[in-house]
Symmetry: C4
Subunit: 271 residues, 4 copies
């Protein structure tokens, strides 16, 4: 077969540079030999893109938020000030500490639920990205206690279990928001070592070792919920992935996260 490189138009070559290297198929690793400023700039760039991707994919609407731990500085994370995800720009990103504090000019409103992110980063050294969403198909599972389970290989990361956090246990009658550090810690405790926890009467928190996987897990948790509800309507006998299948499928599929990540990034370019 002829070398295909010379068939690339200039546009395709630029596109090809995004997909060609085998490492595009692996989860985005920490770049080697990149300065802290470059790593930080990439983290901010991924964070802004993630906000727009999740809005574009129907996981976030005017509400919800995404964060990323500061590369090389585990005690801080990046999260926008209080603004709709689709409107987030690099200029909106603020550095927070693990108690939810952020230095910001007067008049800036921080997210009331920054404590979700703070507490998860403190409890989970393996987590580098966090999404808090009100993804629609997840809500019915959170208010019925029907266990969300992996229906297919794309949502295998649900295999370890999806606990449900009920804020009433930790806070009695509240406004449902995780707006203090103790409430965040209660949520993180419920989440445990899992990838997703539902929040009764509220939404979900999704965690991952990097931003592409945090976005991937948010998208496919929502889709799994929608399809699981359909399956349960069709029949009382639904076959889920068994634990071994879930473990293997998660490893395989998450190694390919570069494929949808590039597609999703392109869809929101210019938005």
């Amino acid at each position: 077969m002829k070398s295909f490189l010379h068939q690339f138009s200039p546009v395709a070559l630029i596109a090809g540079a995004l997909v060609l290297p085998a490492r595009a198929q692996q989860p985005a690793a920490q770049p080697a030999a990149v300065s802290p400023e470059q790593a930080r700039a990439k983290a901010i760039d991924d964070l802004v893109a993630a906000n727009r991707i999740l809005a574009d994919q129907g996981v976030l609407d005017g509400y919800g938020h995404v964060s990323i731990r500061v590369p090389g500085d585990p005690k801080h994370f990046l999260l926008a000030r209080s603004v709709a995800p689709e409107l987030v720009t690099a200029a909106d990103i603020l550095e927070h500490d693990l108690e939810g504090n952020a230095a910001a000019p007067p008049g800036t409103t921080l997210f009331g639920e920054r404590f979700i992110h703070a507490a998860v980063y403190a409890a989970r050294p393996d987590v580098q990205a966090v999404v808090h969403n009100h993804a629609p198909s997840l809500i019915p599972f959170g208010v019925t206690g029907v266990p969300l389970r992996p229906l297919y290989h794309m949502s295998a990361f649900l295999g370890s279990g999806v606990p449900v956090f009920d804020i009433r246990a930790a806070g009695g009658d509240t406004d449902m928001l995780v707006k203090t550090l103790p409430l965040g810690q209660a949520l993180a405790k419920t989440l445990g070592a899992n990838n997703v926890a539902l929040m009764r009467g509220h939404g979900a928190v999704v965690v991952a070792p990097d931003m592409p996987r945090a976005v991937f897990r948010s998208v496919y948790a929502e889709l799994n919920a929608r399809l699981q509800a359909q399956a349960m309507q069709l029949s009382s006998k639904v076959t889920y992935l068994d634990p071994e299948e879930a473990k293997k499928a998660q490893a395989t599929m998450e190694a390919t996260v570069g494929r949808p990540w590039e597609l999703w990034r392109r869809k929101v370019q210019g938005k």
Copy 2:
């Protein structure tokens, strides 16, 4: 942290001016030190935007209408003449009184159901904005009598109850339209002090102290209905917000209405 203001591009600064001040997070208050003409112009602008937002969000289609009380003049409200919501412009807005009369050039068709708005404004001095919609997911609740209840914090405003108006009680066999003042008064009586009333075999009326919250409540009532139906299919045991949670969550969430309002306004700019 560096002042982030100087990182704003001119475009971002203009956008930032919309989201930066803390007061953007509160429900739109009556502007201080603004002339009556400016207040009226803002009300018309919000009204035109609300029409387009609700069409964009799938709450309105070719039918339905939105109104706002004239700032500083409780005996009048602004409502378009009879035209599809997406096509409403400032030039279509007419001032109506609380009996549904409006001065308009010959040949102008008023909305047959302007009496919904007239009667609600007369009965509810606290209400400054009214939406009448045929939002799809609400229709099944109105024709089955299954109570619409707040599934999550976003629809906490449903917590006081969602009465169902059946026009047959007030008008016998009708064409289903609230096209007289007595029928509007019967609807307002059913609505009582609540935020939403369903209209059997027709749609719903949604009321609020300002336009952003009237739009917010319309969007999230529709979404709650959709998700509640899904939850009820999943399980016979659904946990709703309890009354205290609903009260607190409504207060908290509605204080953030500026966040989605700005997003929704931007989505319909240029449409």
Copy 3:
């Protein structure tokens, strides 16, 4: 109130000319004092628009077709040659007679199911426009025999009943297509004096006295089916419009068909 005319920008004035006159609120009547050529040109224009509107509204996809009786010539109707609705242009429109014949250049493929239209126009002198669609939400009703009934005022035109045509009765084991005049006559017989008939394992035929109402009925039959299925899942006790409500609501709502018609036409301009 000031005259609002002078507030119209030129664009709004042009738009206003479409919505301002009260007669826009009535079903499109036969134009008075218009030449046969003008009437025919308008019929073709409405027909092309209807094709695109119904595709835009999700009622038609690559399949389905729309026709209109030739103004002033009840023995002929206009229907495109075999092409996807979204691609129909004036140049594709062919004049057919009531036996399904059409003069066309060699190599032109006519719609195999033109006999649906031919037979309906022959059987129903009151009908001036016909839609044949595979609207998704209607299919489940056609294959289960669950009666489609008017859930709300928008679909009151279903109130006379929605018969189901099963082609097996007329044609034994067929390919499901009404591709002969006898089969079309069997379908027209099942339709009777109603506005909609479902076709088991196929789709539906929708008829009306003019094109705007044929489109309106197609859109709202599909939506009614979707919402009726939702209502039936919510509860075994669903309240439909009673016969008197349906009669009155149909008259009232169909008098307003100009409102959505103008909106729908604008949405497909330039497509």
Copy 4:
């Protein structure tokens, strides 16, 4: 009736050339008197279009893939390297053999599941195009064993049956991917002589004698699944096409595949 040819604008004439000839109504046959290079170029062009069409139609997302047998060379097929379907360009297409090998520059990642295509082409000399998808509505059928059956004429090609491949039978606890030739052969064996096979906890494989029909079958299998689930919720008594109806309807409908194929191609032009 006047000859309509002269009414064609130049644009319409070019469009007309795509739809006018009767042969556009038949499945795309092998072009007569076309060189091997032209046939190959057309195959690649159809393959790139099919990828984009299936993404546009919601059958594929960031995952899934499409292939076509090399015209005149039954031992080879064309399949892209590992990239999201929407991003596939001609430059991404690689020639594979029936064991899943492909010559490619270093660093190119092939699809792990190319063995689906390889094994199907080896087992099915009648098949010229293959789609592997995770179409959402199909997933619940694959995990419940509820038989997918043709609800209407559009999905008559399901009439021969839709087997379900459970990879556990062939491979025990796997990551769910058909990533070896033996697994591909097991899938092909389950598929047998049918047009569609579901893959438990994964998705589906769809096969056809040409690309337009492979796309058609993918789109309508997904839609049939969605509507069949709705029908089964409405009633326990659902009427499907009987075997004779299915056979006849499949022949008739698939002869018209040129109609939606041209529409779908136009929708993705420029994307």
